[in-house]
Symmetry: C2
Subunit: 155 residues, 2 copies
Amino acid sequence: MTPRTASGTSAVRLAAETWESLFRAQVAVMRRLQSGPAFRDLAVNEYDVLFTLSRCPSGWLRLNELNDNVLLSQSSLSRLVDRLEKRGLVERMPAPDDGRGVLLKLTEEGAALQKEIGREHVRDIAELVGPALTAAEQRELLRLTEKLRASLPSR
Amino acid sequence: MTPRTASGTSAVRLAAETWESLFRAQVAVMRRLQSGPAFRDLAVNEYDVLFTLSRCPSGWLRLNELNDNVLLSQSSLSRLVDRLEKRGLVERMPAPDDGRGVLLKLTEEGAALQKEIGREHVRDIAELVGPALTAAEQRELLRLTEKLRASLPSR
DNA sequence: CCGATTTGCATGCATTTGCATGTACTGCCC
DNA sequence: GGGCAGTACATGCAAATGCATGCAAATCGG
């Protein structure tokens, strides 16, 4: 006996369809965003790292914390950071309180590039999402996705 | 003068935050899904192709239609299909009505593998999404992401 | 009907990615 | 304190990916 909701679809089916729809929407939006001119000389993943660093209060962020935000393996992130460092966009520093750790910070140039791309990027997003959903719908979508993310098992 | 909504945040900012939250939720869920045992011998992208084919009414699907569903370049999809074909999971066939096109279909083995992985996958999804959101919330999230996807400019 | 442009897919090649592993450091238990 | 499992990051190497391009078929403009 599979449990059924009031509407007659099983709970697992509803969850699967919800995830499927969320995933497809993400793919569709991302496809349009990444093909735009904002990312002509920085990959989306690379921008994402700069963005996350720019949002970090202290300015410094551990590599493994960064890794939670990005859909990349640990080794790929390590090399991505290598590239950003070689381009002078971020700075590495050994973590003071943990000899294994590495701290990351934006350089001046990295912060400038993030802002520049960010402006374009935000505009692109608004042009895609703005006309698609009302403000109330966007707020609800924001709330639901935040709740979903917050409710996931920590690992 | 940037326009403001009733809550005091600008429309572009709301759109950007909504997208950011959707994206992070997708990353967080996907990270957990793809590390599970369901994908031990088939990458998520590869499964996704099998899944899409399994949902196709006629059984046959054009490569370029497939490409809309997947976050992959055309060339990468072409080679991904190469791999699936070499493993005997899909079958290629020149499109009858368009000499340039290629049609794709699941083989018996491909359909069986999709079903097998799909069962596990759906269970994993339900375990992640089910406890995080109520059924009503899931339905609303499903509706909003469908609307978002449907409202995007065609390309 | 013919040339020019566009579209759909494949392939060469450089880059990026992940897995497995190595290295250094931490924390735990005794 | 000494051994020992666990964590954080880097690196060798094979595989996957994207860009540019090639080629063939379709579509367009006259």
